[in-house]
Symmetry: C2
Subunit: 343 residues, 2 copies
């Protein structure tokens, strides 16, 4: 069986021209028939469609893309700026990615995934865009690349970013109101009686910085001492010991912890228990994200919920509108406090 033959031994029909020969028409007609254009006679179309089905023919997307100057592919890129190892397997991003895949598929687009380490090449975004392989790009997380993204946004329209919204920024962003989320968290801690509050997590990434700032807002407004920033990495292995160290040092001096993510909160819960501190009696704890794990900790985690599905829908919706030439505003989603038992 030669490479030119299908498994049944007949000559394989790989191109639109092959199919045209079989149907006794010109390639142009086949193209039109398969594209479902109205200009082709119904009987001809049906014959061609039948033949295509029979031979399992599918037009080559590369050729089509080249000719039409669009590919039907949306790039999704995850810049790993802050904390290389963890970020990607981070449940939050991964869940978002899942929803994105669904949402894009629904709209007839394919998804090209790329992880980049911006430190290695400053060019990461232009490279992706300039490849000609994608019609638009969704950036998941601004990481430490805010400026780079701003620059690109000036010259490239079909881009939407998941992340934090900043006054006056030029790129179109979809994301939760992190600062408000931080306020909700801090308010809950304080309402439960906490007075000396700590923020657990790296305040480098903008999303986290905003959550931290939100908590600060509330502490200041209530006349409490400033929120203590306990910096950690995101990867569970390193975070665990860092949390243990922080708690050993400050554990007795604080009575409320706002963790930057549920993942950190869950680790923190474990360490708190290990150090003999009870939650929520000795220390109150609020997480962020409302990942599945939040229901499964003991006690179940009070957390600030992000609507990931809505985020994915928003990203895709805005991107498609931009592809259509519209100018779009950023979309800021409201976080929601989900009260369980840790605060």
């Amino acid at each position: 069986m030669s490479a030119r033959e299908g498994k049944d031994g007949r000559a394989a029909v790989r191109t639109i021209t092959d199919l045209a020969r079989l149907a006794g028409v010109s390639p142009g007609t086949v193209s039109r028939a398969l594209a479902g254009k109205s200009l082709v006679n119904t009987r001809t179309r049906e014959k061609i469609e039948a033949l295509a089905r029979e031979h399992g023919f599918r037009p080559n997307q590369m050729a089509s893309g080249l000719r039409r100057q669009k590919t039907g592919v949306i790039g999704v890129v995850i810049p790993l700026g802050h904390d290389i190892r963890q970020q990607i397997s981070d449940s939050f991003f991964m869940t978002l990615l899942g929803f994105l895949a669904d949402e894009l598929t629904t709209h007839g687009y394919d998804l090209m995934l790329r992880r980049v380490v911006p430190g290695d090449d400053a060019d990461w975004l232009d490279r992706f865009i300039g490849s000609g392989m994608i019609d638009g790009v969704i950036v998941i997380g601004q990481s430490d690349q805010f400026e780079r993204i701003e620059e690109v946004a000036d010259g490239y329209r079909p881009m939407v970013v998941w992340g934090n919204h900043q006054e006056g920024q030029r790129h179109c962003v979809v994301g939760t109101d992190n600062r408000l989320g931080g306020r909700l968290a801090a308010e809950r801690l304080i309402a439960g009686g906490a007075r000396r509050i700590a923020f657990l997590g790296d305040t480098g990434p903008m999303e986290f910085a905003a959550r931290f700032a939100g908590a600060q807002d509330v502490a200041a407004r209530m006349g409490l001492p400033p929120v203590l920033a306990l910096s950690t990495h995101l990867s569970p292995d390193r975070a665990s010991e860092e949390i243990a160290r922080h708690l050993a040092q400050h554990g007795r001096a604080i009575d409320g912890i706002f963790a930057a993510t549920d993942t950190l909160a869950a680790l923190c819960l474990t360490e708190l228990r290990a150090q003999g501190l009870s939650v929520p009696d000795d220390v109150k704890l609020v997480g962020f994200d409302d990942l599945p794990i939040a229901r499964q900790t003991i006690p179940p985690l009070t957390t600030v919920r992000q609507d990931i599905a809505a985020g994915a829908r928003g990203l895709v919706d805005l991107l498609l509108r931009r592809l259509g030439g519209e100018t779009t505003e950023s979309l800021v989603l409201p976080p929601e406090l989900t009260v369980r038992e840790t605060a």
Copy 2:
């Protein structure tokens, strides 16, 4: 500023021909220079490279792909056969996906992600392959599509599948020895004193069926009653109540549970506690996967570890070898019992 101009106002150089004009050479020479072929004079090459850098030029991948008949893209497809909602956000698959992205990037390939619901179209795999957009495909999980995959494998070489290995199968698969994993789990339960063992999870998917079978092997060998299959869905919401129901019915009659995944095990732990059964005293519990969550349950979960990173490396390695024309055997990875505190 017209669409033809870059942000600095100079005419944008979008094609290799534009660049050729600038450099005063022919397009062919530019192509060769940029491809790093040896046939071009060093001085010419340097001039062209400098120009390309200066104008941020990148050759169009679609055109290149069309001409060379290869795209530099590997398709990754997740068939959602058994349990639509959960499977994709399942941490295991997502973690594997992350490692795959890294591994493919390292080898200079891009990753195109597609989720499909095979029920909707029987054609899912051929469609992806026939699109002409990908050089090869990695299927994550056989789901209930074993036969479909076998058929395709007969006529399409560059495909590797993550899943369970079956005697005599025709497609190249990478996966953990699930049956052995099942045996390890059951042996551990029995060594701890369990006599009446249950398997928690859907036994439909082949991977799970093999895990179940492994546990059966051991029970039979030891002369214990057959393992009780407690069927559940994978999505946390439905699984929780199903587990509760199972435990209410059989909870007191069993003393060892082997959960199909860590996610199920974690849910099960919660339900066991809710029903007043203590782990590991009343009931012993072993999970599967060794996801991060396994360390964070209380008590921490004894589980059967799959080496996800090694799996991703294996998948990519075999796929590249197949792209190179080699014939490859399937790769079966050994699972490893990770003992913590639930069994």
